[in-house]
Symmetry: D3
Subunit: 136 residues, 6 copies
């Protein structure tokens, strides 16, 4: 069994603001991330899968198929986007990086092909000092 | 003479759209950066100064004074901001990273204290693959 | 459940020398790290916690509270310090990075607030080629 | 218990081509990696061990012994080599990074000294976007 | 005037061997890089141009045009290639990174479009510890 | 003409304290760097030379000769050392990174062999956010 990790990136903007909290609580909890005009990041996403090495090909996953899936499900709909306005889940969820990791995990699991090795982990870094991981 | 470089960072959102161009030209020139909802980046800014090493202190610049200046003039007004909406120069200028470098250079030169070593270079990276420099 | 990792740094000096070993053994085991005048490193510390995402805020931990804790318990007492002379545990323990990881883990666990998500892992890099992890 | 990771590197060339597949399948599966003249990479290898911290020395492993082992078993026979032509296992195995991770793991386990802490993980990065891990 | 740098990468193999030197001199000068089976690297190439910022678009260069040029002239013919066998200049030149920088510089200058900003510098890193620059 | 840069590293401790200043001035100017017990860093040193590419060998400098020189003149006497106590120039000079860059530049120039390409630049990073350069 081997674990393979692929790294991808996307650039997006967001605003942290919870509709369940009043203005004072929003400002206190999210600080400058609550700025109504928003701000943005270069997000780095790593997708890890775990599977057997095929003895004939020496491969654990068909990389181009994995890349195509991640690009279609995650990169295209998130890159150069405003997460609050253009990613449907964030109509109700606050686009914290915690929720971003959960949404990416859910989207990938829903689209995961039957023959693929197991999706093991999603890791997303908002900056190099701020990293979030979901283990399915 | 020694050259000293300090690295800073800020996270901001922007939209590339020129009021001097029509919709078609904007979409063609800026591509996905023209998305009306905007997107964002973790910008890395490096400020380089050139000066003599003080024989008494062994220092070329008082670092805390340089840091305070850059924080007041650049980081505070740009970090966790929407550049189009919240940075005055980008009311008329398109917030490309070229113009961002020029604006940072102009703001720092306008506020540069008399006793400081010479401001030599501004370097700003939008991503690690996209880097812009202005030599005063 | 999500895992959140925050990265911090501190610069310190140390000397590797065991009071339980004679001079020859110290020199043989620690080599140039046994130099009586000491040497130093830029240490990178990562603190990982594991918790639920609050459905109201979308956060797994209050970041400013975590940062304040790590700064008070680890960064302030270790940064720009001589570990042998200024960190009490290293009066008797050799300040290897193994012991540094254990001490940081112990200090954080002793001060960990009741309401915080679980402290899962301490990771400390002495250089980018030399990395140590403690899983509580 | 502590986990210690050491990072090493080597530069090698390879060609991905399976003798069990015909030319068309080889080209389709491996793409440009099937180029008959080969190509190459700067591989980064991380070896992780898990062990107790010796109370006398504060060390979990004798680093120079670990380094000597990895250099003799992995770096010397792989660095500045053509993997297909000069590493015996790749006479029959395709030198994908999956198989490279498995071969490094097998070689290290076969030579692992009795007194060493447990070999826990091999991690090899072909590029910074393509990472493979074996947990023995 | 602004300087813009774009970063690209390619993975290739090579062998350092001069037809003007005998076997002994080749082994002495190139060491393990003279291995007849070759080896390889992940090369990082940076292309720097210097130009005026267009007041209408805020851009110093049309990025997609620059990217297309570099991909056609450098990345496609070098990536996943054996430099000695597949890049014509290295039929007679030794594919040291010095010569690689010179060849990339010459190829780009020969194909440089009239309307482009000035090509100022080529930087190529064989590893992160080994960097070469040509200023036209 | 080509510019070649080699990257090296060393780990050292130091204390910033000027004998020409009183205690109050030392504390004010150097802050926590004035701590009498000292602290330390992983310094990264880059040495850049500029020369012609030899048409026979394709090399601008004999790398092993350059490496041996830098190791003998800089790395051996500075690595795992206390700069104040063990590097003679810092008996009278304050070991700021400015002075460290000047001392490395002077030591290398004094030992520079006649046949070597021109020593063009010394770059030293105390941390990745604090960088100093001397152009001979």
């Amino acid at each position: 069994m081997i674990r393979l990790t692929r790294r991808y990136g996307f650039s997006a903007s967001h605003r942290l603001h919870s509709q369940q909290l009043d203005e004072t609580a929003n400002r206190q909890i999210y600080g400058k991330c609550n700025n109504p005009f928003g701000h943005g990041h270069n997000y780095v996403v790593e997708v890890s899968v775990k599977g057997r090495v095929d003895p004939e090909t020496g491969l654990a996953v068909e990389l181009s198929a994995l890349d195509n899936l991640v690009k279609r499900i995650v990169i295209e709909p998130f890159d150069h986007r405003n997460l609050n306005e253009e990613v449907s889940e964030f109509g109700s969820l606050v686009p914290t990086t915690e929720n971003l990791a959960v949404v990416i995990d859910q989207r990938l699991r829903a689209a995961w092909p039957a023959g693929f090795p197991r999706l093991e982990k999603i890791r997303i870094a908002e900056t190099e000092r701020n990293i979030f991981e979901v283990n399915g």
